[in-house]
């Protein structure tokens, strides 16, 4: 039983971590709090669902579709909101407010187009066969989610550390001006990061949609709030923090539901968020100071 909960926590935590990674990357590099991240998450879920329903493609192809669609969303967000505000050196709060607007629009459009009801994946698309793992039975789906989330995170971490792109991203996160002087295409990187962040969010959306087998227009919102809690817990802009925070929240939620009850489940994230903000706003690993230009 405990092992079962443990696996639940790992898969939920993995998805939270993925989502939080997308959010924190955009904050760290583009220096924007993208409150439309939850909406992009929702778009990813719908994209995968529609790919399965309309195009009748297998799950992996549906995920690719989600990646494509959310990459576009990320591109559009940067092109039409982040970039113009950057050019104008708008105050920090401006992109925040604008992304609140974007999130509201996207959610409203989704509700108008798909309806407000909970949609489900057709039964045959979900791999529900159980596998026995160290004495615990786990569905292929859950196993797939865990493996995929962990693989993506590993890839991302490796990429950030070792690849040229990753180094360039870290340089820009540290100081865009210095990076530009070193010949880095800073605007291009901002756009790329926005795309990458959106893709991570969209993938998280697909995984959660599969995990809970439900897709509905407002699903992005509680997720966004949890993502914020995770990112603040781990420290804004810190990749390790997003990872650890995501797993921490996954575990906290699963075990509090198991032992306290599910009605206050969402409150766990907020309780944590509030506590962290009051006690140590920069989180576990956060950068307490603003970055220099």
């Amino acid at each position: 039983m405990l092992a079962q909960q443990f696996l639940n926590a790992v898969s939920l935590g993995g998805v939270y971590a993925l989502f939080a990674l997308g959010f924190t990357l955009v904050f760290g590099v583009v220096n924007v709090i993208n409150l439309a991240h939850g909406a992009v998450f929702m778009i990813g879920a719908y994209a995968a669902l529609e790919a399965v329903l309309l195009l009748r493609v297998p799950l992996l192809a549906a995920m690719a579709a989600a990646v494509g669609v959310t990459a576009c969303a990320g591109w559009l967000l940067d092109r039409f909101i982040f970039a113009p505000l950057r050019a104008r050196r708008a105050p920090h709060l401006a992109p925040m407010i604008a992304t609140i607007g974007a999130a509201t629009c996207l959610t409203s459009l989704a509700e108008g187009y798909f309806g407000a009801e909970n949609l489900r994946f057709p039964a045959q698309t979900l791999p529900v066969e159980t596998v026995s793992l160290a004495g615990v039975s786990i569905t292929e789906l859950e196993l797939g989610i865990i493996l995929l989330a962990l693989a993506l995170m590993a890839l991302l971490l490796w990429g950030l550390k070792q690849s040229r792109l990753g180094r360039a991203l870290r340089a820009v996160a540290e100081s865009p001006r210095a990076a530009a002087l070193l010949g880095v295409d800073v605007e291009g990187l901002f756009r790329a990061t926005s795309v990458l962040g959106a893709v991570l969010g969209g993938l998280a959306g697909v995984l959660i949609a599969l995990y809970s087998n439900s897709v509905f227009p407002h699903m992005g919102q509680p997720m966004l709030h949890k993502g914020i809690a995770v990112v603040i817990l781990g420290g804004m802009g810190d990749v390790r923090g997003a990872l650890l925070g995501g797993f921490f929240l996954g575990f906290a939620e699963v075990f509090s539901v198991a032992y306290i009850g599910s009605t206050m489940r969402d409150a766990v994230a907020f309780g944590l968020l509030f506590a962290i903000l009051l006690l140590r706003p920069q989180g576990l690993f956060g950068r307490a100071a603003q970055r220099r230009a």
């Binding site: 709090i33 909101i81 113009p84 505000l85 708008a90 920090h92 709060l93 401006a94 992109p95 925040m96 407010i97 604008a98 609140i100 607007g101 974007a102 999130a103 509201t104 629009c105 996207l106 959610t107 409203s108 459009l109 108008g112 919102q221 709030h225 914020i228 809690a229 603040i232 804004m236 009605t263 206050m264 969402d266 409150a267 907020f270 309780g271 968020l273 509030f274 903000l277 009051l278 706003p281």
Partner: protein, 290 residues
């Protein structure tokens, strides 16, 4: 006069909503004016609404007392979370207030015995009339206009532009921010209490994120230059979707678009555009090249 009666029969809720929305817009104007981005006003509205409604429904309290209690409880909540939360800077403050809003909504959902949970409260006595709302709006506008043109208004504007410089000139920035936050909460609570008593029914979903976004949109649309801007923003956002037939369902979409467009094209809100146009008109009439 019969025309007026028919008009009122059809549009009373809308007209009264404009009134309470103006109060809400003023509540966020206060916080935006000193540079705070808080999205908790929907939660404060909810606190005011539920408090007042429960008092009139269950305790048979007189209307005035119930409304006052609603506003005061909202203010008390703001005071409780204000001191620690307002220490946080812009972005963290926004997120903390976002979290607070969600916590309130979840608490309302879960306290079923008291609040009716997801089903909300039904059958609230229709005690709020045009006079109440009008008086509330007029009083709020009058007070805020007076404040805006006083030393207080000047201090607030300074804090908004450069908080640290203001503190280093002797202004107790923390106290000013707390005042705006708590007063804003009281206004929002007042709006909620009044609103509950002409809409007959309230539920937790009315005081969640969508409402918070709408309030934000009204404030951003109006801008921080003047309380009149907030009133204008509230009127537009309440009336526009209704006037353009059938768009009432798309309120969230419209609010979202407004937020994006204003931030991109007129960050100081519409009131700024109005004043700029008025200036140009004056200059043109005076014959000066602009």
């Amino acid at each position: 006069m019969e025309w007026l009666e028919t008009f009122w029969a059809t549009y009373s809720t809308l007209a009264l909503s404009v009134g309470t929305n103006i109060l809400l817009a003023l509540s966020i104007y206060l916080t935006l004016a000193c540079g705070l981005l808080t999205v908790a006003n929907a939660a404060f509205m909810g606190i005011g609404a539920y408090t007042a409604a429960l008092l009139t429904l269950n305790a048979g309290a007189p209307f005035g007392a119930a409304v006052l209690a609603g506003a005061l409880l909202a203010a008390a909540a703001a005071l409780a979370i204000g001191r620690p939360t307002l220490r946080l800077s812009g972005v963290y403050l926004a997120m903390a207030t976002l979290a607070f809003g969600e916590v309130v909504r979840i608490l309302i959902l879960n306290a079923e015995d008291l609040t009716g949970g997801a089903l909300g409260l039904n059958g609230i006595p229709q005690l709020a009339g045009a006079v109440h709302v009008l008086v509330a709006v007029a009083a709020a506008l009058a007070i805020l206009l007076r404040l805006a043109h006083s030393r207080f208004g000047r201090a607030i504007a300074a804090i908004r532009q450069d908080e640290i410089a203001a503190e280093l000139l002797g202004l107790d920035v923390g106290a000013y921010k707390l005042f705006c936050f708590v007063a804003g909460a009281a206004l929002a609570g007042l709006a909620g209490a009044l609103n509950a008593h002409f809409t007959f029914f309230i539920g937790p979903s009315e005081f969640g994120f969508e409402r918070a976004v709408e309030i934000l949109a009204m404030g951003v649309l109006g801008g921080v230059a003047s309380p009149w801007g907030a009133a204008l923003g509230a009127a537009l956002i309440t009336l526009l979707p209704e006037m353009l037939r059938g768009l009432g369902h798309y309120r969230p979409l419209i609010n979202g678009l407004i937020l994006i467009l204003i931030i991109l094209y007129s960050p100081n809100g519409l009131w700024d555009l109005v004043r700029a146009a008025a200036r140009r008109a004056r200059a043109a009439r005076a014959g000066t090249p602009c």
